[in-house]
Amino acid sequence: MSEEKTVALVTGASRGIGRAIAERLADDGYRVVGTATTESGAAAITEYLQAGGFDGCGMTLDVADQAAVEDVVKGISAQFGAPLVLVNNAGITRDNILMRMKPEEWQAVIDTNLSAVYRASKACLRGMTKARWGRIVNITSVVGAMGNAGQSNYAASKAGVEGFSRALARELGSRAITVNCVAPGFIDTDMTRALNEDQREAMLGQIPLARLGEASEIAALVGFLCGSHAGYITGETIHINGGMNMA
């Protein structure tokens, strides 16, 4: 295999939306490196990429660990080439009403969802500025725009990423690097499958399209933003939520 494929790094790619994005990008012809926090998660990524006949692999990474992020990006650059596409997808929730929220719950969410975007983006910028081309897509959430009781930490982290992306888009525009956010609503993943029947009914009642979104629908939008037709979109947050929040 001699032709040069663009390397795409997708964090949090072992399941859910991250997995769908990794598969979409692999199918679109990128060499995909997906990360997961556990060895078994990384192995699962390698497995599904290979099963799909794709080029790429899984790697272990805790995006909250500064040195680990730098090492992984250096490792990928040495092994496959510098990642010119970065999808910051890894995210966690630690839901609690604010009056009960422990400092650790606040900090963990800010660290993994917001500070990690700073870390991974910074680590990839050397390669992107050198190439005079790059794509950063950050997965945020409808909750960043609407708010959600019990998710002040999560909402703050996601809204923070959107502001970060607008600032970075301005910094990097002259190098043809775009920075955008994709903000999903309720998507059919393990996270939403954990809800009970009542919660599920209440949720669907807020969605004009009256169904959950598919991870593949998010992935298709991410794929578009990474591609050549999306070169004039930057600093934007694109909502994909079945109409539950229309800006």
Partner: protein, 78 residues
């Protein structure tokens, strides 16, 4: 092999898109050669690659002129 001074000046010219003769030793990247802040970061990256070294951020921030770049390389690469 060209001198460190020549190699630095060549890289500055390439990175900032100016003619080599404009790259005077005393020139400031931003004030004389029209670099913006991102250009100066990329310039340091190019110097790191040319001289196969790593310049820490705290040091990189101080390299604001051609002369300071030459001095840094000379001091740290001997």
């Amino acid at each position: 092999m060209s001198s460190i001074e020549e190699r630095v000046k060549k890289i500055v010219a390439e990175q900032l898109g100016v003619k080599e003769e404009e790259v005077q030793t005393e020139a400031s990247f931003v004030e004389d050669l029209g670099a913006d802040s991102l250009d100066t970061v990329e310039l340091v990256m190019a110097l790191e690659e040319e001289f196969e070294t790593e310049i820490p951020d705290e040091e990189a921030e101080k390299i604001t002129t051609v002369k300071l770049a030459i001095d840094y390389i000379k001091e740290n690469l001997a």
